[in-house]
Amino acid sequence: MVGPIYIIAIALGTAFSLGFFKKANSNFSFAFMLFAMAFMTFISGQWLYAFLTQQQETIQIFTAGFKPPFSISLQMGLHESVFLSLINIIGLLAAIYLYDQLREKGVQMMMIFVLLFMGLNVVIMTRDIFNLFVFLEIASIATAGLIILDKSINATSAGFKYIIATAIISGILLIGIIAIYYFAGSLFINDIIKLNLIYVKGGAVAVFLVLIAIILELKPFPANGWALDVYEAAHPGIGAVISAASASAGIFVLAKILPIVGDPGYYIIGLIGIITFLGSNLLGLKQDKANRLLGYSSIGQIGLLLTIIGLTPYLGDKTLFIAFGVLISHALAKAGLFWLAGIINSEQIKGWAAIRRNPHLLVLMGTFIFALVGFPPFPSFFAKWELIMQLANNDKILWLALILIGSFIEGIYLFRWFGYAIKGENEDLPEFKIQWNKIIPVIVSALGLYAIGYYYSTLTGLAANLNYIPLLFIIFLYAIDFLPVYIKNTISIAGIGYYLYITFPDLEEFRLIFALIFLVGGIIILLAGYAKKGRRSGFYPLVMMMFAGLIGLIEANTTLEFFFAWEIMTIGSYFLIIRGKKSMTHALSYMLFSVGGAYLILAGFGLAHIGQSSYSLDILANVQSYAPIIFTLLAIGFMTKTASIGLHIWLPGAHAEAESDVSPMVSAILLKAGVFGLIVLMLKMGAQSFGSFDIYYALAWIGAITAVMGNMMAAFQEDAKRLLAYSSIGFLGYALFGLALMSHLGWLAAVSLSVVHFMFKTLLFLAIGGVVMRVKTKEMYKMGGLIKKMPFTFISVLMGIIVIAGVPPLTGFGGKWILYNAVLEKGWFLPAGAIFFAGIIAFLYCFRLIHAIFLGQLKDEHREVKEAPFWMLLPQYIILAVIMLFSAIPNSLLKPIGEAIMPYFSEGALEWQGNLAISNFGYWNGELIMYIVGGIFVVVFGWLWFMNRNAQEVKQFNIGYSAERPSLPETTHFAYNFFAPYKKALGFLVSPIISDFWEAVSEGIHAIADKIRRIYDGNAQTYVLHIIAFIVIFYLIAFGGSYGI
């Protein structure tokens, strides 16, 4: 094997030789440099391979033929080789990326570039503390050189700030090193470690100085203004190197000197880390320049790494796994984003809207963003999972909370940025061109993320069962994205169908019920996809991703599998939502609520895991401590998906703006994931209370209020799809209420309502989608009289609203009846009153929906409107058939659900005599009611027909209108602000308090961020002052208290 020392030799030799070449030979010199980088990568990779596969022992390299401490020694072990490989690969890619710049700017830049990586390599390998200083200086100076790649004034002044700041920091480091030498009499790190200098008077300060200087090299908040300016001003290709490679090396150095500090250092590092993580991400919120934003994010990620290192005592042997997972995700993703930034070449993040001219670039960007936030299947996901589990296990709740808050804040700006990329205005943006040398590094880092993510999942052990088959199917669909829509639709349906077929035998109880909702529902809704023309680029992988997540939820046995699936589902649904029109803000709020909810779930799982070795979902059934808190966290997490009041503001926009067949998916199916989560949670955890305060009673109220508010807001909408969206909120309020009752009947109501909701919401969204497709507007008052143009759609909507209204004889009534009985059994009358009140309010929007669209006066411009396409109608009528079946034979629906509930709640179950359901309080025979009502109806109709058979059909305006003939449908069709008096009386209830609240929260945080970031006033002196003050303050913290470093 090639010795690590040759890394130095090759790099230096190359750098020195480059002086021979002149500009005319720039291609040759570039190749020469690239060869050096490749050789360095090869050496480190070869060692990595040896360590991983051949039980290679860690080796020491002694320079000058003497043993340490007399000479400088280098070390090559597994950790070194991992970091070296990472850094050198990034270096190689960065070199390829910078092909044009390096060639154009001449050999000096190539020398600097190679030397930077030489410096970083030695920094990692060296075991001599002064040598560390020297090579850190090399890296710093080389970085300063690379910053001025384009020689602009901004770059130069940023470079100046960088030099001043790093020079001060290295001065501090030097003082610390020389003091350490004084106290230890050695510069060999291994010797110094043995001496426990922190217990020596003065030695502790020396160690502190070294520690703080190394930390300062990592740009902690708030002493990092210089670094931000550098990120902003430097060429993105250089930004990538600083953010990914230099930071990785810095982290390694910190880990290397940490043993010198010993245990007390963890506290300081953790403190600085969390401050950096929170502070930097917070300030990132106000940032609208892409490169600077990446800078904030980079610093934030380093803060997270510092936190993790600081938490080592609690993370134990998992520290490395966690830290490296975060680091590699950060390094590859951040490098990838910087490189993309160089391709897009837009200063403002809004300018990234240009990126979607090439969808593949968008996929790459999405990969990086999701990897940064910690979504599966990336290493950061597993790392974050493990981090939270370990923190919870050690009862570090505050740390856990702070880390999740910081991650959440990071998610805000990353997803806002991503939103601009997907949906922002890109009409006037300049074109960008993609060069092979720029795109290859991006692709490699994205692939690296996936590969390492997969590798990481195998490392976790318990993730070994993660189901990657659906994900492979997604990749397959991505690969065949060029095919026309009907082929992909067929393949998708077949895929889901086949999956259902193979998993069906293993499913039972609730899993079966929800699997049917998810998968059969998915197939039915996908049928509508045949109505689409063209390629529908990118749609199918996303749909399948959502379904993969849903399937995963069903199949999950462990908390990790559950969470994995939950996040996959979130990704898929996010993309589906953002595909809609004007969906940018809605998709963002959806994502934020999802991420927030997911973090609550994560925290809940973490706390539940305390004191239990298993990761099975069953741990929820015997949690050791914090039970009510765990329950609340998980419940709120799931309720973000069911859009309970307070957490609902994402839903209306998201559902209303989605495509016509996506709306039913996200509304009728996706929301059920939250219900499923609640069911799992409640089954496992059972009754929970804070002291004497019953959490379920609170849930019942939340459900009730959600139902009232959702329905009332639905009644006031002018936009048909928005109306349906609010109606979903309301309906899931019922379901929540039913679940909260924790009784057989309550659950029967909740689950059957969920099934019914799936059916009618699919029906209505498809029907309304068909209407919108034809009339090209969603505003209901702009429609009217469509019954004669779209009779089949009308029938769907009619049946749908009868089901919503819960009027007998259709199946919606069954749910109401069960709910009444359940309430009588339980006795929670006040929330129940609200629930039934909500049920009546549902009439308002139901009527409005059908009236404003189908009844009343037909608009002139709609005279030529055609019926919805066959493929839109087909799924509706399939569902209609099922609704009729369930209405006529209610026990075909209720009995299986009842049986699923039976094992958990047997008391108060319904007694079935044929189709007569008997409860403790009353009885109901759905079939009979159907016949009776049908009978009466036929008789009365017959009577009317007999008396009145020759009724004459009249024209549109032939109405008794105060003796005047109206001429305009617009003025005659009473539809706008239909419930004006209602709004006058109760409108105050639906004043947007909740959205105002969230808006105020958001405004407040942004305002704070804006205030704080003023500390970065762009003046190098201020930055140096920050550095010195940072040292002094943490000196006081470390030594001021009784703590002592």
């Binding site: 030799g13 002086g19 320079t63 000058a64 030489m118």
Partner: protein
């Protein structure tokens, strides 16, 4: 004012920190083990009379390589940043120099160069070494440029010297790995007789290259800065 008082407070804090660091410092009365080893075994192991040189070039040779690299980097960056774009019109307004300076420099510069070479060749025997020698050579160049501001110094030559000496340094290091005990091992050449010019193994060789390299690098920096004088 507020800012200045803030700075003052911070500085006091920093002073307290430094005071705390050195509060126990009371001078040394003895060498520590490491230094003692260098002092006692150094002459024998390395063969250099100047122990600092022994430490700098051999024991801590990697540092020195890094040091040279830093200068190299600095020179490269300076030359990159201050590179005058080809074709750019050069209208430097240069002050004419006095006769005395001009004449004196003609006599002194060769002497200074010679002295510099002497210093680095004798680096292992007397105070001095590659860096010092290089700096002396560069100072001669400063004098020359002061006397004849319009003189164009051959960048090509500087680069050539710089590169060749740098590569040689690295090659000596690698040779140590291949033919002796390790990177930059001194015993590549025989240690010779202690206290003579041809002693101390490769130290004098390395110091020659270091001296040339440092001289070239510093000269490069100086000429670049000088050429940018009054440049628009």
């Amino acid at each position: 004012m507020v800012k200045n008082s803030l700075i003052f407070i911070v500085l006091i804090g920093f002073a307290v920190l430094l005071a705390d660091l050195f509060v126990g410092f009371n001078g040394n009365t003895d060498l520590n083990t490491l230094a003692n080893h260098y002092a006692v075994s150094g002459p024998e192991e390395v063969g250099s009379a100047n122990l600092v040189t022994a430490v700098v070039v051999t024991y801590r040779g990697l540092d020195t390589l890094g040091e040279v690299t830093i200068l190299f980097l600095a020179a490269a960056i300076v030359s990159f940043l201050l590179k005058v774009e080809a074709g750019a019109s050069r209208n430097r307004k240069l002050r004419s120099t006095s006769e005395i300076l001009d004449t004196a420099s003609k006599i002194l510069v060769p002497v200074i160069f010679l002295f510099g070479i002497y210093v680095f060749i004798n680096g292992h025997l007397s105070p001095g070494g590659g860096f010092q020698g290089g700096a002396i050579i560069a100072s001669g160049l400063v004098l020359m440029l002061l006397a004849q501001p319009a003189k164009e110094v051959g960048h090509k030559l500087i680069t050539l010297v710089e590169s060749i000496s740098g590569i040689s340094f690295v090659l000596i290091g690698v040779a140590g790995v291949l033919f002796a005990a390790g990177f930059l091992d001194n015993k590549l050449l025989s240690l010779g007789k202690f206290g003579t010019i041809f002693s101390a193994g490769v130290i004098p060789v390395i110091y020659i290259f270091v001296g040339l390299k440092v001289g070239a690098e510093l000269s490069g920096i100086i000429t670049n800065l000088q050429e940018n004088q009054n440049e628009a």
